[in-house]
Symmetry: C2
Subunit: 350 residues, 2 copies
Amino acid sequence: MPTSTGRSSGVKPAAEALAIGRGAVRGEGLAQAVLGGDRRSLARLLTEVENATPVAEVAMRRLYPSAGRAHLVGITGAPGSGKSTLVAALTGVAREAGRTVAVIAVDPSSPITGGAILGDRVRMQGHAGDRGVFIRSMASRGHAGGLAATSVAAAAVLDAAGFDLILIETVGTGQSEVEVAAAADTTVVLEAPDMGDEVQAIKAGLLEVADFVVVNKGDRPGAARTASQLRAMLVAAAPRTGTPGRPRPKRPNVLITTAATGDGVPELLAALDRHRPSPSEPTGEPARVARATAQIRAVLEQRLQARLADSGHSEGTRHLVEAVANHEIDPYTAADRLLADLFETNRDTS
Amino acid sequence: MPTSTGRSSGVKPAAEALAIGRGAVRGEGLAQAVLGGDRRSLARLLTEVENATPVAEVAMRRLYPSAGRAHLVGITGAPGSGKSTLVAALTGVAREAGRTVAVIAVDPSSPITGGAILGDRVRMQGHAGDRGVFIRSMASRGHAGGLAATSVAAAAVLDAAGFDLILIETVGTGQSEVEVAAAADTTVVLEAPDMGDEVQAIKAGLLEVADFVVVNKGDRPGAARTASQLRAMLVAAAPRTGTPGRPRPKRPNVLITTAATGDGVPELLAALDRHRPSPSEPTGEPARVARATAQIRAVLEQRLQARLADSGHSEGTRHLVEAVANHEIDPYTAADRLLADLFETNRDTS
C-alpha cells in the first residue's frame, strides 16, 4: 500500500514541501507589499483570503499584529433602502475630512460560478482614482468558514493596510448577511419603504442589531413620521431586560439622511465617530471578542476539513456519504466513524 | 486540581450518566411516538432537532432508516413573490389527491431571542385541523451546524413520520436561505415584480438553483411576457458547458400560476411529480448526496465544538480569544493551540 501523505508523520514529499515553501514566500511578499501601500497586492491578498489559501494564512499571520486600529462600520438594510448611495456619500464626507476609507460590499452571488453579481459597483465610480479609497466586492456565497469570518478577515487586512474607516455593506435579508454587519464595531440599519409583512419581519429582526437606525430618502414625505414611529417603537422595546445568556437589546439612535443629496450624512459620520470604541480599552469589547471568536472558529473548521480530506480515507468517506444518502446508516454514525478514524490517524502519526 | 469531565476517560459522573440515560430514553420514546403518528411528539422532536440536543440525536438515529421516501420540494423567491400563498395552494391540491403534506417555513428571526418572527403563518390556517397537513415554522437564525443542515434534519424527521410531500419555504435573498431550498430534491423559484437592480441580481442567482421557475400572480398584465423573457434568458444561458468542478447550470421549466385563485397550481404539482427522483435508483443522486454531506458535516461541527467545550480548558480558550481580539496573537496560532490541546487530551484519555 502506498504511504498516503496524511499518514506520513511530518515527512512531506518534495513537491508538496516546495509548494508550501512557495506559498510562504508569496504570503510574506504580499504582506510586506500591503504594509508598503501597494494596492495591487492588497487586491490579490483579498482574493487569497476569500479562497482561504495557505498564502492568505501566511500573510494574515504577518499582518494581524498591525490591525486593530480601524473603525469597522456595518451598513445593512432591505433591498432598495439606498445602502450603496449612503456608503458612497459617507465615503465622500470622510475623504473631505482627510480620512482613508475601505469598502467591503457583500453582493448576492452566482451559486454556480461563485462570483459576485453586482461586480464593479458602478455607484462608487465617483471615487475611482482616489488612492485614499479602496473598494472590494465580495461574493456572499461559498466561504468555507462562513461569510462573516471571511469578511472579518478581509477587514483585518484592510485595517493592517492602514485604512481609517472600513465600511461593510450587506443586504439585510439573509441570516449570514446580517451577521456580517453585526460583526462590526458599529452597525447601521437603513430603513426602506414598506414592502409587505415579510419585509416588516425582516426589519424587526434588523432593529435588534442596530447601533444606529437611519431613515434614508429623508426628502420623501413621511420620513420624519417614520423616524418618530421608530423612536417610539424602540423606547417601548427598551424596558425589556433581556433573556439570560443573550445580549441585551441595544437602544439605537434614529437619524435621518438623504444620501442622494448628502443631507444628514456629515451628522451621521459624526455620530459614528462618537460610537467608535476607544483603542485604549479594547479588552472584552463585545464586538471585538465576537469577531475574534468567529475567526478562530473559521480556522478550526478549515483545519478539521483539511485533516479529513488529508487522511487517506476519501474512498471510505465517499462510501459513508452514499450510505447516508441511501438511509442505510444515519449521519451521526457516519460522523463518528470519520472522527474515530481521524483521531486514530492522528495518534499513529504524532 | 479537580478532575474535569473532559479528562476522565470514559468514567462519567453519576449525574451526567443519568442525564444521558434520560435523554436516550426520551429520544427513543419520541421516535417511537413519531413513527406511531403522534403529532405532539413530532412537534417536540422538531424542537429538539432545532436545538441539536442529545435527545434529537438518539431519535434521529432511530428514525433515519425510515426516511428517504418523501419528495422534498424547496420553494424560494424574493419578498413579495407570493411564496406562502403558493405553498397553501399546493398543499390544497395535494390533499385533494389524497396525499399528506408537511411544510417547513423558514422565517426571518430575531437575533436576540432566536425565535421566528412570522410565527404561526396565518395564511396556512385554512389547513388547521387537517391531520394530513403539518406546518412547522423554523427560525432562520442560530443553528449550530447551519440552517440547511437543520432544515434537512427536520425534513428527515417528517419523512420518517410518513409525509408524502415536504415543502420547504424560504425567502430567496440570503445565502443560507437559498441553500435550504437548493438542498431539496426539486427547487422552485418564484418570480417577483421588478424591485431594482439589487433584486435583479438576486433573481439571476436564484435562477441557477431552479428546477422550475414559476411566474406567480399570473392574472397580472405582463405575466405571459415575463414568462417568455425568462424562457429566452434561460435558453441563452443553456449552451454554457459549465466550469470544471462545478455543477452545470440546470435548464429549468417556466410555468405560470395564480396562487391566489389556484390557476396553474394542479399543473405545477403534476410537473413536480414528474421531477421526483425514482426511489429505485437513489445512489449518487446529487441532491441526496449533497444533503447527506451537509448532515454529516453538521454533526462533525457539533462534535468538534462539544470536544472543545468539554476539554477543561475554557479558561485558556477565553485568554486565547482575548489575545486575538487585542491583536496580540493571530487567529491561526490560536486555533492551532486549541487543536493541539484537543488532540493531546484525546490521546491521554482514549
